[in-house]
Structures are given as C-alpha cells and as structure tokens.
C-alpha cells in the first residue's frame, strides 16, 4: 500500500522526467522525500501535487529545484586520505600508461576535478591525462568549467591539500579576483565537461580511473547497480574506481569484478576477466 504522499512523489518524479527529462525516479526515496519536503516548504506549497503544478509550469523553477535535488557539496581534496592514495596510484600505476583517461562522474561544481588535475600535474602526468567531468546539472557543469570559488572556502581546501603530501604551494594554482579564487585555467585544458546521466546514458570511453564520490548514496539499489555496471564496463582491466567515504561495492552484484585496492579509502581495482573470483580455503588439512 502506498500512501498518498508516495503516490504524489511518484507522480512528481514521473512528471519531472517526462517534461524535463531529469530522471530521479530511481533515486533513494528517503533522500528525494527529504529534499522535496524542503522544497515544498520553501515554495510554500501545501502538497507535492501543488509543487508538481508549479514545476511543470515554470521551467526556471526546475533549474532551482535541480540544485536542491542534486547535492553540490564539494571540498577540494575532501577526505585527504583518498587523494593521498590516488597520488600513489597515479605516480606508480597510472604512470605506466601512455595515455590516461579519468572520469569524474557527478563532478558537481568541479572541486574534485581540480583536485585530481592538481595531482596529475604534480606527478608530471598532466599532458598524458584526459579528464571527463560529467554531471546532469548544467548549471553545476558551468560552474565547474568556470573553476571559480569563494575565497572563504580556500582555507578548507588548503587544509585538505596539506594532507595529500603536496609538492607545491596551493596558492600557486589560483589567482584572487574580487574575493574569488580563479583556478588556473590550464588545469582544465585537458578536461571535457559533459552532461551525462548515470541513469540513462551509457559508457562513452575506456577509462583508467573513475572517481565517483558521494553520488551513489543518493541512488536506490537498482540504479547503483546500473552505475557500477557502467563503471565496470568503462574501466580497463586493472583500472581504478574511487568511491565516496560512505559508499562501497560490498553488496553490489558487480563486486566480483573488483578487488579492494585500498579499503579505507574506498578505492577498487577492476580485475582482469581471467581472474574470476575463486574462494580459497586457507587451512591445513587435519585428520
């Protein structure tokens, strides 16, 4: 039995999908409800149906709501341990490839992209790397492409950066203009910004490293499965997949295609096809 609210949420998501082609139908239901409740209150709507009415008749509202439905929280070098591990992976493993493709899936406003670009530059692989930064939110993509952040965020960025075994001064990557830090545009020279949806779109290229952080937590199981399937298909054998601190492949049906490379940082390595998982009994035979 679905409650009236559930039906309303269903209809709302269906409407948004059919009219604006944003498919949130398989996002985590509790997350969607929490967000919609917030939006409902903000727009002073009495019900999701009213919200639906407003949204279907006001395209500008959709853009706004999209910012609520896709969470754009990003710090540069967020969870420094993750980036420290990536630095190691980049310098030791990825450096053996003649060209390196990196996909930042759900790049939001670009903090993660610039963090990675900085790592690649510091490890001397900037010219070999090709970044793909994708998100479903056009506005976020634009901001990612701009690479401009408020000055008051720099402190936190730099704090994180300091824990990633830095090779340069963080301030060398940006210039300050009118209280905004403008990041070196050369960092995004090898980056392609694209609107790509993990819900509906498919793999577009072979990847060496995929970083998809704090995106899966907003998906329901079927969608998570799809997304991880995409990553699994896109990665080369022995390619790396990085997830957010609260995410893991633990329960995924694709978990068998990956080995845990760095458990605490949620970094996985895709296995070669021939290395199908074979449980091993460790033990001495006793009679």
């Amino acid at each position: 039995m679905s409650t009236r609210e559930d039906i309303e949420v269903d209809l709302f998501l269906e409407g948004v999908y059919r009219h604006y082609h944003y498919d949130f139908r398989n996002y985590s239901r509790t997350f969607i409800k929490r967000r919609l409740n917030l939006i409902k209150t903000l727009l002073q709507c009495e019900s999701f149906s009213m919200l639906q009415h407003q949204i279907l008749h006001d395209p500008h509202l959709m853009t706004k709501i999209l910012n609520y439905l896709t969470i754009q929280v990003g710090d540069m070098f967020r969870d420094p341990g993750y980036f420290l591990s990536l630095r190691h992976i980049i310098s030791s493993y990825l450096s053996t490839y003649s060209s390196i493709k990196v996909w930042i899936a759900g790049c939001g406003t670009g903090e993660e992209l610039y963090s990675l670009a900085i790592l690649f530059r510091e490890e001397g692989l900037e010219s070999r790397a090709q970044f793909f930064a994708t998100d479903i939110n056009f506005e976020a993509l634009k901001r990612a492409e701009a690479g401009i952040y408020a000055v008051d965020r720099l402190e936190s960025f730099e704090n994180n950066y300091r824990h990633t075994d830095p090779k340069h001064s963080f301030s060398s990557y940006y210039t300050i203009k009118n209280n905004y830090a403008v990041f070196d545009s050369a960092l995004k020279e090898n980056t392609v910004f694209y609107n790509h949806s993990l819900v509906s779109d498919s793999v577009f290229a072979e990847m060496h490293l995929i970083s998809c952080r704090n995106v899966l937590i907003y998906f329901d199981n079927s969608l998570q499965e799809r997304a991880i399937g995409l990553f699994s298909d896109a990665l080369i054998r022995k390619g790396f997949l990085g997830l957010g601190a609260k995410e893991s492949l633990y329960l995924s049906p694709h978990a068998g295609n990956f080995t845990e490379f760095q458990r605490k940082d949620r970094i996985y390595q895709k296995m070669a096809l021939q290395e199908l998982p074979l449980p091993r009994v460790r033990g001495h035979i006793k009679l």
Binding site: L276, H284, I285
Partner: protein, 1025 residues
C-alpha cells in the same frame, strides 16, 4: 472653455473698435478712389492678439458693413464700378486675413492649453517626487488638484485590496460624516471604479458635503468623481467639488495626469509592500537563525548521543568479543572433542587392526605349528607301536604320553587357529541344503556312544512342523552343535544330554542342547563366550579343553547369521539354544546404490565389482585413476577432488577434469572427502556447496596451506531430457568456462616452462632484469639488443609473446613493427611495448594497432609487465579476440559490403576506434581516424583539397576533447562543400532530447553506444546509398 479664454483683454478690444470707427469716418470723408479702407486690415490684425478665435470674423463682418456704407456715403471720386470691384476685392482679402487669424488664435489657444497641462503635470511631478509614504503622497496630489483646478473641496480614496480607503481631504468640514472605507461597488465611487470612467454631477443635493470655513458652510455646485486607472485597475479615486466649473480643462488635466498619479500611487503601494516584505524577510531570517541554532544544538545532541552510541557499541563489541571468545573456546572444545573422538576412533581402528593382525598371524601360523607337531605325533605313534619291540614298558608309556600330549596340543592349536581364522575373516561360508533329520541322526551317531561310555542318556527330539530341509553351512553347523554337545557331556556326570530341534519365530530354526550337569553361575554366564576365559580353571584342568570352544561357536553362529541363548542354573544343568535362519543369504556386498550407475557406465561392468568384500569397506569412494581411460597418469600429477553425491554431476565434472589430463577423485560424502585429502593433497577441490560447511569447519583449520575451492550447486548443471538411466548432465556454460579457467590455470601452474618470450631491449642491465623477472615465473626468455637480432630470432622460430623497447639503436621499434606486419618471413607474436618514452597520440594510435599493451617504465612497471604477460599467456591468445568482441566481425546476418568506401571516424577512445575498425574493415571499407573534432575538420578539409581520398561518410563521436562532436558537426555543415556529406553521430546519451540535439546540429542520424552491429551496419548502408 478654458478659464483663460474668459480673460478678454479689454484694451485690445476697445482699441480695435476705436480704430474701426476712426477709419470709417475717414472713409466717409474721403472720395471714392482714395483707398483709406485699406487700413481696415489693422484692426483685423490686432484681433489676432486676442484669444477669441471668432473676433477676426466679427471685425471683418463690421468692416464689410462699413465698406458698404462708405461706398454709398462717400463723395464720388472714381467710377463707381471700379470702386465696387476694389472694395469687393478688399473684402475678400480681409476675409482671408480673418481666416488666417482664426487659425492663428486657435493654435495659440491649443498651445496655451497644452502648456497649462504640462505645467500642471510638472508641478504634480515635482510634488510627487521622492519616496513618499502613501498618505503624504495622496495629500500632495489632492492639494495640487484642488489648487490647479480651483476646486473648493476634495477627497482622495486609495484602493487597498478592492476597498477604497479615504486618505486625505481638502476643505471638508470637520464634522462632516465621512465613510472611512467604500467598497468597490458602493455608490458613485464604486461605480466610477467599476466603469473606470469619471462621473460629473451638476445638480448637487443640498445635504451633500459642505465646504466648510470659519464663516459658514456651503455645498459645492459641481462635483467630479475621477478614478485613476493603471493596467485596468482603479487604484485611486478623487472627488472634487467646484463652485465654478470648467469641465473641459478639468477633465483634460485629470486625463493628462491620471497615469502618473496612478503610477505614483502604485509605486507607493509597492514600496509599502516591499517594506512589509523586508520586515517579513528580516523576521524570517531571524527565525532561520534560531532554526540554525536549533540545528546546531541538535547536532550537538546528536554528537553526544553518537558518542553514547559509540560507547554502547564498544560495550556491545566487547560483549561480542567475549561471546566470540566463548564461542571460539566452544568451537575449540568441540574441535578437541571431535579430535578426541577421531583419535578414539582411530585407536579403535588401530586396535581392531592389531587384533586382526594378531589373528592373521595366528592363522598363518597354523601350517608352521602343525607341520612339526604332526611329525612328532607320527613319530611318537611309531615309537608307541614298538614294532621292533626294543622299548621298555616305561619307554613305551613315554611314547604314548608324547603322542597323547601332542594330540591334545594339536586340538588346542586347531581351536586357536579356528577362532583366529574366523576373526581374521578367512573363514568362508558355503550355504547348502541341510536335511534336519539326517543332521540330528549324524550327531546321535557320534555322541550316543560317548554318553553311553560315561553312563549318560542321550536324547534326541525333533518337533513337529519343522521343514525337512533348511539352508545353512552344514560343516559350520556341525562344528557348533558338536562343540555344544561335547561340552555338555564333558560337564555332566549323571542324567542326560539332549539335542532337540524346533521352529522359532521369524523363520528361524532352534537347535537346543541341554544337559543335567554342573550348570553355570549367573555371574559367569556372560564370561563363557569370551575367548581364552575358562569359567573354572580347576575344572578345566580336570576336564581338559581350551575354553575356546564356545568362542568359536559364537563366531560361527555369527557367520551363519544366527544367535545363541543360554539358560543355566548351578547344579541343575544348562540349556544352549542356537537360532539359525531357515535360509542363509550369501553374505553380499551392498555397494552404494547411487554410485553404481556411474561405475557401471564407466567400466562397462554389470554393477558388481570383483573385490566385493573390499568395496564394503571403501564403499562409495572411487578412484577414477584406476579406470582404463587414464591408466598411465604419472603419480606427481595434480589431483582434482570432486565432492559430489550426484553421480551424474560428478561424472560431468570429472570428464572435464580428464579432458585437461587431470586425475579426479570423487567423494560422495564429506568424510570421504577428508580421506582423500591425504596423502596426496588435491590441487583443486570442486565441491557441491552443501558440503561446504562440514568440510570447512571440521577439516580445514587455519594454517598456511591453500587449496583452491570451487563451489557448485545443482543449479549449475543442466541435463538432456532422457530417462533416468541414460540421462547425461552438463555444466552450464558459465560454470563450464569458470572451471575451464581454473583447470587452465592449474595446467599453467604445473607446467615446467610455460612460455617463450622474446625480449628486445638495448640496455643490458634492463634486459637481464626483465629476463630474471620472467624466469622467476617459469617463463623462458630470449633476449636480444637490436632489431636485426630480433628479426633473426623471429625468422628462426615462434614465440608466445615479445616485449619491445621502442628506443633501439639504428632501427626504431616503430619500423620493426611495420616490417613485421608486412613481411611473412617473420613470425609476428603478440607485442607488449615496454618503453621509457612518452608517446604522442599518433604514436600511441600506431602502436595500438600492432601491440597488445603499452607500458611506460616506472616504479610499478615491472609488476604490470609481469601481470600483463601472465594474463596474456593465461588467456592463450583470447586477449587478441577480446578487443574484437565488441564488434562481432563474423555477423553474417548483417553482411553488407562497404567495398571502396572511405569513412572518417572522429573518435577519441581507442577501444571504440578498434571496435569500429573491426566492424568496418572486414567489409571492405577504408578508414581514416581523427582523434577530435578539430582533427576531423582538418581531415575533411584535406580530402577536399584533393590530397586524400574523398570521404563518403563521417562517424562522429560526441564526447571528445578539444572540440566536441556537436560543434564539429555544426562547423562541417557551415561549409557548403560538406552540406550533404552523411554524418552519423556516435552517442552515449539515451534521452530523446539529446538525440534531437544531435540531429539539430546537423547529423543525419545517430547510433547509441555500445554499438550494436545489427543496427549499425544497416544504418551505414542506408546513408551510403
């Protein structure tokens, strides 16, 4: 009429008339022909300066009268007709001037009126300037209107949500009753607002609003109610009362300023609303702030409770740990119990074994013992015969004693050996038809005389209803009964010994041997059946015998599947009852029913194995290596242990293992599986999942040994639909592959030197390092340092793989690859590029064409090199196919020839390029690749300039660096030369809106990734027509 029209300038008018009169008099006195009248134009012109448009006409009219009178009354001068003509002409001219004057005055009036309105507007605007509060604004508006329109009384109403509220008044008597609010449809005000039209009233009732002053009150004579409208909405109404009313100017002015007043009111209202909203926002902001505080607090609380939770969790974890510890102890106790049990079992087995060894030893001793004994008996007998009669009596007695003693010894030995034989399982049983009557008679024949000798009575008794015959082993039966009877006689001094036969329940026959002898005490009854125990040593010494008789009896009865009972009382006698089955079955093996078909199908035997008795020990365990298919497998080959109780499943798995040349052992239970873990540890265990827990828990304890384990379930098999007897089982494809992979890996592991790899590297240190690295994995290497050496090697033989450094002396790796790809003289093994050089995109593309993998030297490159080689060798070349699987080349269903077609692929991803190439090239197309939109444009341009082959079709990826596909398509379409070239977009996007965008950019069609050949080829064909 405007009020300034009434301000007639009297001096002007009088001067006009004075001049007119003066001229008329002059004209009267002047004779005809002297044209004094010409000056009549002066008054007309003067009248221009009045503000009365009709004045020139009036003057002209007077002039015409004066002209006529002047003509009639003036003295004669010239001819009269000429004078008439002159004066008529003059009159016409004057009329013309008058018309001009009229127009002039009108214009003058018009501009004056306009000025007045503009002035009013300006005044009003200056009044309304600035951010005014609504009441202030309405005050100023009213004051202005009253002043400017010379009204005597005024009220202003402002629309506040469809209710008109009076905001300010002018000249209204203090004690006048005024409605604070007027509804939108109430009275004249309401009417005016509803119609958006002003209302004018002239006949004002006496009790209407009074204009008040200190001197008295008076009602206005004229009333105007004027609504100010903005966007069809009345937002303000003014009511004005006049004594003197200039309708036109009032309405004009009101109309003129209505918009600005309405706007000003609206602005003031909005201003007010904004202000209100601002306050609201501030309030909300405060609220938000408090909310945020609240949240902070909550978060604090959460942190606290989180800490508590953590604490709790820690407690739980501790408890858990304790539990685990306990459970671990339990498990270990359990384990030690099991171990102890096992040890006991082992001990028991060992004991049984020892006992059996002992029995066997004794049984084997029979010959060794009896041979010397027999000879001593015979010799003693010969001596006792004393044929040569040379022995003394005493000597004779000695000889007899030796013979007797030896005989006794022999009997004793026989008994012992019999028992041992039985215990060692050497005693065979041969069931035969036994006639009961005959059997009893034969017994009587033997024992009747013995009884008679001892003075005892022998009685035989055969009950009614007994079958004539029954099936058992007569020799063993005889032994049993003889033994019992001889015992009975032995222990009976007086009375009788009887043998009776009756039927017993469960189709058994009872042989009862009874006596009236000494009997056996209850305590001793349980002992007498034990071997080597005599109830009473002394008695035995007297009666002789070994005490083994009963033990032998019991073993024999067991062989015959019978039972023995004893009833006895001391001094009264004993009754032994032997129950034997009427029909003694052949002691048969009962092999595992389930496994039998599997065995039979492999061996072609009829189901019974020759060593039946042994099978009963090792029932369901089959060592397949003994089957004829693989008799010559060497001992050190790996063993596959298959733990599976379904013979069909087991067999299909085994066949797979055999096809890889592995020996397999099938165990149907976990215990058997355990038995087969020693002494040769299997290299791989393939096990039905249901045994997992048993095996894991009880057999594998933590240590350093690793056996790969593959678990299967019944679901992993499929079968053909035959009857149960002939049904065959197959592993499902996925599992099949999985197992193949396992076997393959095992095969690789067990092979001595598994591969030959050619290393081409000019640095000797590097070369040695690589060969050491590979040799450590049992890979045989040949190292060369230059291209000619390499070619020499490749001309001589084949390799599984070659590792190529690009930076070689004289000839580069690139040209080597080119040479190899073109010349058949050399073998061309798969290539792994191992280089310290950075590569350009073009170089990379080139290398990707010929090599399996490119590795740039770095800290982890040896690891990756080894990894790639191992992977490559393990997959035995399937890696090459791997790249092509995306685009199934051999898809005949969509076999369209693309012969002679030249296609441009604009795509960044190497995997995709290979997929496309592998689809297109086999169909005859030639391919040109551009790595991004920019390069794509360039390639098209070059083809146009005639340098290259012209391009028939463009395959355009969308997501590319430098210039994306959509931009590239747009740019292509901008050039007239490429207006019609077919472009197919390759897109990862699935939404219709994205596809529409692609088409809108100018693509002819699109196809989604990953490519489906079945759709892709027809699509190509369509656009290449």
């Amino acid at each position: 009429m405007y009020r300034f029209q009434h301000e007639i300038s009297r001096p002007l008018n009088s001067s006009i008339f004075i001049i007119l009169g003066f001229l008329f008099i002059l004209d009267l006195y002047a004779p005809l022909g002297i044209s004094v009248w010409i000056f009549y134009f002066i008054p007309i012109v003067i009248s221009f300066f009045s503000l009365q448009p009709n004045l020139p006409f009036l003057v002209t009219f007077l002039i015409s009268i004066f002209l006529f009178l002047g003509f009639k009354l003036s003295p004669l001068g010239i001819e009269e007709s000429v004078a008439i003509i002159n004066r008529s002409l003059a009159l016409i001219s004057f009329l013309g001037i008058a018309i001009v004057g009229n127009i002039f005055i009108r214009n003058q009036l018009q501009s004056k009126k306009h000025n007045w309105l503009i002035t009013g507007q300006n005044k009003l605007n200056s009044q309304m300037a600035g951010d005014l509060v609504l009441t202030e604004l309405s005050n100023k508006i009213l004051r202005f209107l009253v002043d400017y329109l010379e009204a005597k009384i005024g009220i202003i109403y402002i629309n506040d949500r469809e209710i008109f509220r009076h905001m300010s008044t002018y000249g209204v008597s203090v004690n006048a009753v005024l409605l604070d609010t007027i509804h939108a449809e109430d009275g004249l005000i309401g009417q005016a607002s509803k119609d958006n039209r002003p209302i004018f009233l002239s006949e004002i009732p006496n009790d209407y609003l009074k204009i008040g002053s200190s001197l008295g009150k008076s009602s206005p004579r004229h009333l105007v109610i004027y609504p100010f409208v903005l966007n069809n909405k009345t937002n303000c109404i003014v009511e004005l009362g006049f004594f003197n009313f200039h309708a036109q100017s009032t309405t004009d002015l009101l109309d003129f300023v209505s918009r600005s007043i309405a706007s000003a009111v609206q602005a003031a209202q909005t201003h007010l609303q904004v202000h209100e909203l601002l306050i609201e926002t501030q309030r909300q902001s405060e609220e938000l702030h408090s909310y945020s505080e609240e949240l902070d607090k909550q978060s604090e609380t959460l942190k606290l409770s989180n800490a508590q939770l953590e604490q709790h969790q820690k407690t739980v974890e501790t408890a858990n740990r304790q539990l685990k510890e306990q459970s671990r102890i339990l498990i270990s106790q359990n384990e030690s119990l099991i171990n102890a049990n096992l040890a006991l079992e082992l001990q028991k087995q060992k004991l049984t074994q020892i006992s059996r060894y002992k029995s066997e030893f004794l049984a084997n001793m029979s010959h060794e013992l009896r041979t010397p004994l027999n000879s001593s008996i015979i010799l003693a007998h010969l001596l006792a015969e004393n044929r040569e009669e040379n022995l003394t009596d005493l000597q004779l007695k000695y000889a007899q004693t030796i013979e007797n003693s030896s005989n006794e010894l022999l009997a004793l030995i026989n008994d012992i050996l019999d028992l041992s034989k039985i215990e060692a399982g050497h005693m065979t049983v041969l069931p035969q038809n036994v006639n009961i009557l005959e059997f009893v008679d034969s017994m009587e024949a033997v024992f009747q005389p013995m009884c008679a000798q001892k003075g005892l009575h022998f009685r035989k008794e055969i009950a009614d209803g007994l079958p004539q015959n029954f099936i058992t082993d007569p020799i063993r039966l005889g032994q049993i009964i003889k033994n019992l009877l001889s015992n009975a006689i032995k222990f009976t001094e007086t009375g009788e010994v009887a043998l009776s036969v009756t039927t017993a329940p469960d189709v058994h026959i009872a042989f009862i041997v009874s006596d009236t002898g000494i009997g056996i005490s209850v305590e001793q009854q349980s002992l007498i059946f034990e071997p080597f125990i005599q109830v009473d040593g002394a008695l035995n010494r007297k009666n002789g015998g070994t005490g083994l008789g009963l033990s032998i009896c019991i073993e024999l009865i067991r062989l015959l599947k019978g039972k023995i009972n004893l009833q006895s009382r001391l001094e009264q006698g004993s009754i032994f009852t032997v129950l034997l089955p009427e029909v003694l079955d052949m002691p048969q093996l009962q092999p595992d029913l389930e496994l039998t078909p599997a065995i039979s199908s492999r061996t072609g035997n009829s189901g019974l194995l020759p060593a039946a008795a042994e099978i009963s020990f090792d029932r369901a365990v089959l060592n397949i290596s003994e089957f004829p298919e693989h008799p010559q497998l060497p001992q050190n080959e790996p063993i596959i242990l298959i733990v599976e109780d379904n013979p069909g499943f087991a067999r299909s798995t085994l066949e797979l293992a055999n096809s890889f040349g592995f020996r397999g052992i099938i165990a149907a239970t976990s215990e058997e599986a355990v038995n087969h873990l020693h002494p040769h540890t299997p290299s791989l265990i393939i096990m039905n999942g249901k045994f997992k827990d048993d095996v894991k828990d009880s057999l594998f304890a933590a240590d350093d040994l690793e056996i790969p384990l593959q678990l299967l379930t019944a679901n992993d098999y499929s079968s053909n639909d035959l009857s149960d007897d002939t049904r065959e089982y197959f592993l499902k494809p996925f599992i099949h592959q999985k197992l193949m992979a396992d076997f393959h890996r095992l095969q690789m592991k067990t092979r001595e030197k598994l591969a030959h790899v050619l290393i081409i590297e000019d640095d000797p240190i590097e070369r040695t390092m690589m060969s050491v690295l590979l040799n450590s994995k049992k890979i045989e290497t040949i190292e060369v340092g230059s291209v000619p050496e390499c070619l020499e090697q490749l001309a001589k033989g084949t390799f599984d793989c070659m590792i190529l450094d690009l930076g070689l002396p004289t000839t580069s790796g690139f040209s080597l690859l080119e040479t190899l790809s073109m010349e058949d003289r050399y073998s061309f093994p798969p290539v792994i590029i191992y280089t310290g050089l950075g590569l350009t995109a073009d170089q990379e593309l080139f290398l990707n064409k010929f090599s399996q993998s490119i590795i740039i030297k770095g800290t982890k490159s040896p690891e990756r090199l080894l990894d790639e080689i191992m992977l490559f060798l393990e997959s035995t070349g399937s890696f090459v196919a791997d790249r092509n699987t995306t685009g199934q080349v051999n898809d005949l269903a969509v076999d369209v020839s693309l012969e002679g077609r030249h296609l441009l692929i604009v795509e960044d991803d190497i995997r995709n390029i290979f997929a496309l190439t592998s689809i297109l090239e086999p169909r005859g197309a030639t391919i040109q690749v551009a790595r991004n939109g920019m390069d794509g444009l360039e390639a098209l341009q070059t083809s146009l300039d005639g340098g290259e082959q012209s391009i028939d079709l463009v395959l355009m990826d969308i997501m590319m660096p430098k210039m994306d596909g959509l931009t590239a398509i747009r740019k292509i379409r901008q050039q007239s030369a490429f207006k019609d070239i077919p472009i197919i977009a390759l897109t990862a996007k699935a939404r219709q809106i994205d596809h529409d965008e692609t088409l809108a950019a100018g693509a002819n069609d699109y196809i989604s990734k990953p490519l489906d050949t079945n759709k892709f080829i027809p699509l190509l064909a369509k656009w290449l027509k």
